[in-house]
Symmetry: C2
Subunit: 203 residues, 2 copies
């Protein structure tokens, strides 16, 4: 958590500026495709100054990824076993749509990482994420067994939610080029996705 690191107020502020700039750059070009120069320009600082606040380009990237993972996993964790099955899953879809709206760069940073084979977050995926996904998959299976939602493979259901919601952040460039109006694609998408999952989940 970069907010809790020691340092003066100006130090913490500059670290935040650099992280924000680096997120913009890394999310577009990936780790290898990004340069410290680009990050510095985006942050409005000199290259040596960026490397004064972080030990290395790698350290900036690692900080971003680590900060991201907690945020990334939260919406799934919030699914409540005590709630109404259909409403809980639809609320999860809404939270994921909101994430694509509020954190498109974070979504692309994550996508870039997975596209590359997830070398830096393999531990997170096989550990924390897998434990949580397995737990929620058991919950969804139990809900299906009780007949309250359609009986479908819980893993493919979760993958479908990820695919559909993250697509609007990750493939944003393509979607905007294919649309005539300049309205936010996600506004129409939310209603579409909720309708889709309502139909899919109906017993």
């Amino acid at each position: 958590m970069s907010e809790m690191l020691p340092g003066t107020r100006i130090q913490r502020k500059n670290r935040r500026i650099i992280l924000r700039a680096a997120l913009e750059v890394f999310s577009r070009h990936g780790f290898r495709g990004s340069t410290v120069d680009q990050i510095a320009a985006e942050a409005g600082l000199s290259k040596p100054n960026v490397l004064y606040y972080f030990d290395s380009k790698e350290a900036i990237h690692e900080t971003l990824l680590t900060d991201l993972l907690g945020t990334w996993i939260a919406p799934l964790r919030e699914i409540d076993p005590a709630g109404d099955p259909q409403e809980e899953i639809l609320a999860y879809v809404r939270r994921k749509v909101q994430m694509s709206r509020d954190f498109p760069c974070e979504s692309r940073l994550f996508a870039n990482e997975i596209l590359q084979g997830a070398p830096r977050i393999e531990g997170f995926i096989r550990g924390e994420l897998k434990t949580l996904v397995d737990e929620k998959a058991r919950l969804i299976r139990a809900w299906a067994a009780s007949g309250r939602i359609n009986d479908l493979d819980p893993y493919h259901l979760i993958f479908s939610i990820w695919a559909l919601t993250q697509h609007y952040a990750d493939f944003d460039a393509q979607i905007r080029m294919l649309r005539d109006d300049d309205s936010e694609p996600l506004d129409g998408a939310e209603a579409h996705l909720l309708m889709l999952f309502r139909r899919l989940l109906a017993p």
Copy 2:
């Protein structure tokens, strides 16, 4: 089309080997993140030899992208206005699943390009692809108006098909890490996706 370029049999063969290797490398690390050294190693050739067959790293990447776009657009083009609406769309989903199965690297190459803002294929997307998508969107709207399928936004329907099918190629690394068995994720996915779209399209 690289197959139609002039040259001896061995020249065409080496060009194919290089393109195959470059596809593997570019699809994982993006253009900037890939090196000619990596491509040469993957192809089993020396670095200068690779640059004997292609003018530059950029030229290899451009050849790959150009070759890809035709393949990429074909499944959508095949949707037949004269066919049964639901069956035509489900057949399209099947073709897209097959693409993720047969051409996962091509899918990731495309994803990498879009993530970066689609700088190299903006013309293709705004031109050829948009024309085709608009045409098929009108067709789907007409089908919905006739009451033969559920009335939904045709653009979001198409985006949903892209998101769900390509996810299994692009996020393959994550999906495999989250599964216990070593069966092909796409085998179960195809049945799941067909069920999903059958429910979504039902009038």
